[in-house]
């Protein structure tokens, strides 16, 4: 550990005061919202020395403790909850902690990506280790100074004590000395039972800035001389630019340049998260967003079909060549193609027992098919990024989930070594998986290089919705075989998608049924897809959990009891190998939600109740949804949720996230869907793409966490998928009909009008 002191704080103070004056400069050294500390930092007696105890921790002589959040924040609360983990082991007084977003530096700050509900899970151990090591360094420093054995030193709330001699001091007193001590390894961690920061709700450290409208987001980022750029992309998937005339555009006020831009060379090898929705772009650059938006309208463009194309992909070492069809796709045609493809043979992903024989011998076979459309992420803050690229170096700043995944691409394209590329991570106005794809950094960088200026690329809402990386279009057919005694003897899922299938072959109810078959197929498409909050699961949980509900009914069983029986079976006599869930924990959330929702209580019979449970991202979630009819429409009035994600770091924020996932789930289940006509998105703004609003949100969402001492697992995604299933099941009780096609509001209307050929 180098003994580093910096003047960071003085600089950040100066930057923020510039901001207070004109609001034009923004500094990405964010201080926490705690007034006491903030006031101290703004005093003339400003701390100007920060002693670094770890990549995550710096301390001033007057005991202000700065903790760097390593991971991009998109609303999942990592800016607060990750520093809480450090503070816990460090033994810091949370009131003395200021939190700052860390730089992109994976040597010091680890993997730095937000995705797969991984933030807390992957940082749990490293952050605890970092906090414990720093505490130990402070203890050693005090022991040396006081000439006492280090074992006799105790700490509490940012202070060190030696009881026998009555000596005490703050962390700040020893920060300088401690920063020179080598970082110890394997320091004993706290007993989970003794946590006093973790498991104790802390307010969002950026709350004050958010409610005061301070610049936090990429769209707020600004430097002197910065230009604004927007991209005119093809009007349809499968099209490219043929020619353009920008003469009128260039005459518009504030417009600097219009040019054509090729994203990737033809032989470019794509990384796993590189994507080129459109490779040939038309760019308008100007000084003011509105002027650029206006000038775009004056472009005269001619587009032509791209035709089939091939792409070389190297996804984290797995190389393949993919052919992307040039067809201008329409949702109705795609839907019919899926129907046809679903009848043909598929790839067997898992097979237990003899499912063919079991289905042949069955007394009853139940078969249902479920469909769901593309979904757009619709992050509240549209895609945008700042770039300033020169021949020597590049600076990027904006909303991004995984800087480390786009950096190699930037390095290749701009021919700069990674040290010459700085990526600053701003707070994101939502992500949901969309911002794991950094193509917009490539775009912003290329525009900056061409324009020879610092540039902010901004997507309009329409750009954002029609130039997306969507949740794929899915279908799955579920079959169950029952014997004469209505026992479940075989289970079959055959799922497909455009362009990716949804099947998780080792998930429940795999392992609980003797004869089991999981199959998949895929149809290629030129519509770009990617991760969307709980990929695949967000469809499976709807389909599978609706199907299990229907099965339970056919078998004359209570839906929760039926699931618990299957889980009991999976626990006692698991079928097959690689079952990827823990049957006990799965059953645990079902039992908890049964209990908390008063599942069998007569007073709850006035509600049309639906239940669903699901496992993904290493966590378990179950919901009971209580539906009523409001103004003639089904409305989810109450929800009960039970979650097992191990130790909950910041309980109130975790509750907020589960509530948000429930609202998001209800919204997408009822209204979500992006459709195409001849390659063109049929929805391009919120007037056409319906997002759930406050009057459609439940009155209450009652969230319960299983209390255990298991290391934390994911939370951002797991509560989301089972909402779809619970809504579908409640809908059945509310309307007397089963709905198989998302979004359900459309299915309800289609059913009323006897339209069954149209999917969405």
């Amino acid at each position: 550990m180098e003994n580093s002191t910096t003047n960071l704080s003085r600089r950040s103070f100066l930057k923020s005061s510039a901001l207070a004056g004109g609001g034009l400069m923004i500094s990405f050294t964010w201080l926490s919202s705690f007034k006491a500390v903030a006031e101290k930092l703004n005093n003339p007696g400003l701390p100007d020395q920060w002693f670094e105890l770890s990549g995550y921790i710096k301390i001033t002589p007057d005991n202000i403790i700065k903790i760097y959040n390593p991971n991009p924040e998109f609303g999942q609360n990592v800016m607060t909850s990750l520093p809480m983990i450090v503070a816990e082991e460090l033994g810091a007084d949370w009131q003395q902690v200021v939190v700052e977003m860390g730089p992109h530096d994976s040597v010091k700050l680890g993997p730095q990506f937000t995705g797969g509900s991984n933030s807390v899970r992957m940082y749990w151990k490293p952050l605890r280790d970092a906090g414990a090591a720093a505490r130990n360094m402070l203890m050693q420093a005090a022991a040396q100074t006081w000439a006492v054995p280090v074992e006799e030193i105790t700490t509490k709330a940012g202070k060190l004590y030696h009881e026998k001699t009555g000596k005490s001091g703050t962390y700040g007193d020893f920060a300088s000395k401690a920063s020179g001590i080598p970082v110890p390894k394997g320091v004993k961690l706290k007993d989970i039972k003794g946590f006093d920061v973790i498991r104790h709700s802390k307010k969002n450290v950026e709350g004050l800035k958010i409610v005061r409208g301070k610049p936090l987001f990429g769209l707020d980022y600004k430097v002197d001389g910065m230009l604004i750029a927007m991209i005119e992309h093809p009007p349809a998937f499968g099209m490219k630019l043929k020619s353009f005339d920008a003469s009128q555009t260039l005459k518009m006020p504030g417009i600097k340049d219009v040019f054509r831009l090729k994203m990737y060379e033809d032989d470019f090898e794509f990384g796993g998260f590189d994507t080129r929705t459109f490779n040939d772009l038309l760019v308008v650059v100007g000084t003011n967003t509105w002027e650029v938006m206006n000038a775009r309208k004056k472009l005269i463009t001619e587009w032509e079909p791209v035709g089939d194309r091939k792409e070389k992909v190297n996804s984290f070492g797995r190389k393949k060549e993919v052919t992307i069809p040039g067809e201008l796709e329409s949702s109705d045609v795609q839907y019919q193609k899926m129907r046809t493809r679903a009848k043909q043979p598929a790839t067997v992903l898992r097979k237990d027992g003899d499912p063919e024989a079991a289905f042949k011998n069955a007394a009853q076979v139940i078969e249902r098919t479920y469909n769901a459309p593309f979904l757009a992420h619709n992050c509240m803050e549209p895609m945008n990024f700042f770039a300033h690229v020169t021949d020597e170096k590049a600076l990027f700043a904006g909303p991004l989930q995984a800087p480390g995944w786009v950096e190699p691409t930037l390095s290749k394209i701009f021919n700069l070594s990674p040290e010459k590329i700085e990526i600053q991570m701003t707070r994101m106005g939502g992500g949901f998986g969309r911002r794991a794809y950094g193509h917009y950094l490539v775009e912003a960088g290329l525009i900056s290089r061409q324009a020879k200026a610092p540039v902010k690329l901004i997507y309009s809402r329409e750009d954002d919705m029609t130039y997306g990386i969507y949740r794929p279009m899915y279908t799955a057919t579920y079959r169950a075989a029952l014997d004469a005694n209505k026992n479940l003897i075989a289970f079959h899922v055959k799922g497909g998608g455009i362009p990716e299938h949804p099947v998780h072959e080792n998930r429940f109810p795999a392992g609980a049924v003797d004869n089991y078959l999981a199959e998949s197929w895929e149809l290629p498409s030129n519509i770009t897809i990617g991760a969307f909050r709980a990929p695949r699961s967000n469809f499976n949980a709807a389909a599978e959990q609706s199907f299990l509900d229907e099965l339970a009914e056919a078998m004359g069983k209570d839906p929760i009891d039926f699931r618990l029986e299957l889980l009991q079976r999976a626990k006692e006599r698991p079928v097959g190998k690689n079952n990827d869930y823990d049957a006990d924990r799965y059953a645990g959330v079902l039992e908890l939600v049964r209990d908390k929702s008063g599942w069998n209580k007569p007073e709850n019979r006035k509600y049309n109740r639906g239940v669903a449970a699901y496992f993904c991202h290493n966590s378990y979630a179950a919901h009971v949804v209580d539906m009523v009819t409001k103004n003639g429409e089904p409305y989810v009035e109450r929800v009960f949720s039970a979650i097992d994600c191990g130790v909950v770091v910041n309980p109130d924020a975790a509750t907020n996230m589960v509530q948000g996932a429930v609202v998001d789930g209800i919204g997408n289940a009822f209204y979500g869907g992006l459709t195409h006509k001849d390659g063109r998105s049929e929805q391009s703004n919120f007037s056409e793409y319906r997002i759930i609003r406050i009057h459609e949100a439940p009155k209450s969402i009652d969230v319960h966490f299983i209390e255990n001492d298991i290391d934390p697992t994911g939370l951002g995604e797991p509560p989301f998928p089972p909402v779809f299933g619970a809504v579908a099941n409640a809908l059945y009780r509310n309307t007397g009909k089963r709905y198989y096609n998302q979004p359900y509001k459309n299915d309800i209307i289609n059913r009323k009008n006897n339209i069954d050929k149209k999917a969405f």
Binding site: G23, K203, V211, K222, N288, M380, R693, I694, H695
Partner: protein
Amino acid sequence: MITLNINQKNYEVDIDPDMPLLWVLRDVIGLVGTKYGCGVAQCGACVVHLNGEAVRSCVTKVKRADGQKVVTIEGLGLTNDHPLQKAWLEADVPQCGYCQSGQLMSAAVLLRENPNPTDQDIDDAMAGNICRCGTYLRIREAIHMAAEILRKGS
């Protein structure tokens, strides 16, 4: 030349009078608390007060605000600790936070007109503000809390 009184400060700006107030605030004046979400009056991220009324600045031409009083999130409450802001922090409403300026500005007009709103009143008044993160329940809770703060005069 357009004259604007924004958060009790006067500005003279030489711009196209048709430019939406949103972009004048963000790109010309440098007040970026007001957010762009849709540009077509659908999401409410851009709500500001024009002479005390909630307007969607993305569709409000700046000429409409000429010589008028505009309040943005940066000017909400005299010392920027409006009861709603306190309540928002207490209920820890935000997730990503992007929609929240607009939510607060809409809620401020609601509370002024109706100091004791029911859930139904809140739903009616706030239906124009999308929160993609789904913080609606906490928004309701925080508005009730702010009403309580106002009633107690603290």
